[in-house]
């Protein structure tokens, strides 16, 4: 059973952008460095705190439909990267690269997005953020 979404270990895209330590929920749940590429249809885009949520319907080659939820940081954090309340619309066909959770559920946090109009948006977190200065 081979789904359309492709699991890609952190080699190609994964190393493009490290995730800053911004998570509201902590990082322990995520499979750090792993990447999953989702090609699917937008069901809902929730622009809210503490995280924005993208519900995405992904259909595998066998016809099986998987409901993914990809999260972004809060609106004020992802605004500089170009994410807006109307970035995703119901029915849009988009490609989203996520860092999945460890437990195998169809959940992850957004690393990169290719929108229906071809635009690419980066990590759904604080653009331009520098690492926290250490002593």
């Amino acid at each position: 059973m081979r789904a359309r979404f492709v699991v890609v270990l952190a080699v190609a895209v994964g190393l493009l952008m490290p995730l800053p330590l911004l998570a509201h929920h902590g990082s322990a749940a995520f499979d750090t460095g792993k990447r999953v590429t989702l090609k699917g249809t937008v069901k809902e885009w929730v622009y809210s705190n503490p995280h924005c949520l993208l519900r995405l319907e992904v259909t595998g080659e066998d016809g099986q439909v998987v409901q993914w939820v990809a999260e972004g940081q809060a609106p004020n954090v992802i605004f500089p990267a170009g994410y807006r309340k109307d970035t995703f619309k119901f029915g849009d066909h988009v490609t989203v690269i996520v860092e999945p959770v460890k437990n195998g559920r169809p959940l992850g946090r957004i690393i990169q997005t290719v929108l229906a109009d071809g635009r690419t948006l980066g990590v759904a977190s604080s653009a331009g953020a520098a690492p926290v200065p250490q002593p």
Partner: protein, 296 residues
Amino acid sequence: MRNSIFVVMVGLFMAAPGLSVDTFAQSSAPGGWPAPEWNKPPITDANRKPAPRRSLAGMWGPAAGAGAGTQGSGVQLKPNNGRPENQLPYTPYGLELYKSHQALEGADAVLPAQDNDPRNRCEPLGVPRYNHYNVRLTQIFQDEYKVVILYHYDNRWRVIWTDGRQLPRPVDGGVDIAGDIREPRFFGYSVGRWRDDYTLEVQTVGTMPEDRVWLDSTGRPISDRVRVTETFQRVDYDTLVWSETIDDPKVYAKPWETLKLPMRLHDPRTDIQEYYCSPAEQENYNRLFGNTAGGK
């Protein structure tokens, strides 16, 4: 008539420390709603302007970028990453408290849905934790009696009195103000004094007890006997350095430094997006993501 003009002039003079619009170019933002600008040129000898006397007023953001004040892995100067140099001088009680906290960040992080961080119930974070939680655009106003800090996260505000009043005396269950016992507060009782024309030193006592607030997002504890000392040093016109030391003998065997965060002046007209902890949105997030993500 002359009295009216005098009143207006006095009013403008009083407001002057809070006005810095003239130092910024006319906004070219669409519709006149400027978004935060984080890619500012560095301050050098060529563009450095002198700091105004006894003024912290302005819209400030972490100088190193939008995420530089996040402190997701613990207080800035002592991240909770297990390294020996970042071990804290816990008292036995303090260590017991730390172990009772199930945090989502740091060396002992737990999975979502297993945590007991009061933040996730949208409780006020209190002082000093607001200084260590997503410090982003921070507005400071002041008049001759007080300095007011508007924190971005959860739209919270805090008063620091600079009118010469005494710092209350901490007692069990609150503070003593001239024999009057007052309640503990999330923001405590803050009093500031100008150490020199460019440095305000702030003392805070009377904060909430340890079963209500944490120090940071990694579950480090803080008690109601903490004395927080902050300094706000206006290094130049565009730079403010925000430092903090905590002295909490109930939890830590000695005082230690938690923060030294350079802040950069931003356009005072910058539009700040809301960053609320909404219980309804939190519940929705947990339903769609958090609870499942944290499951086995």
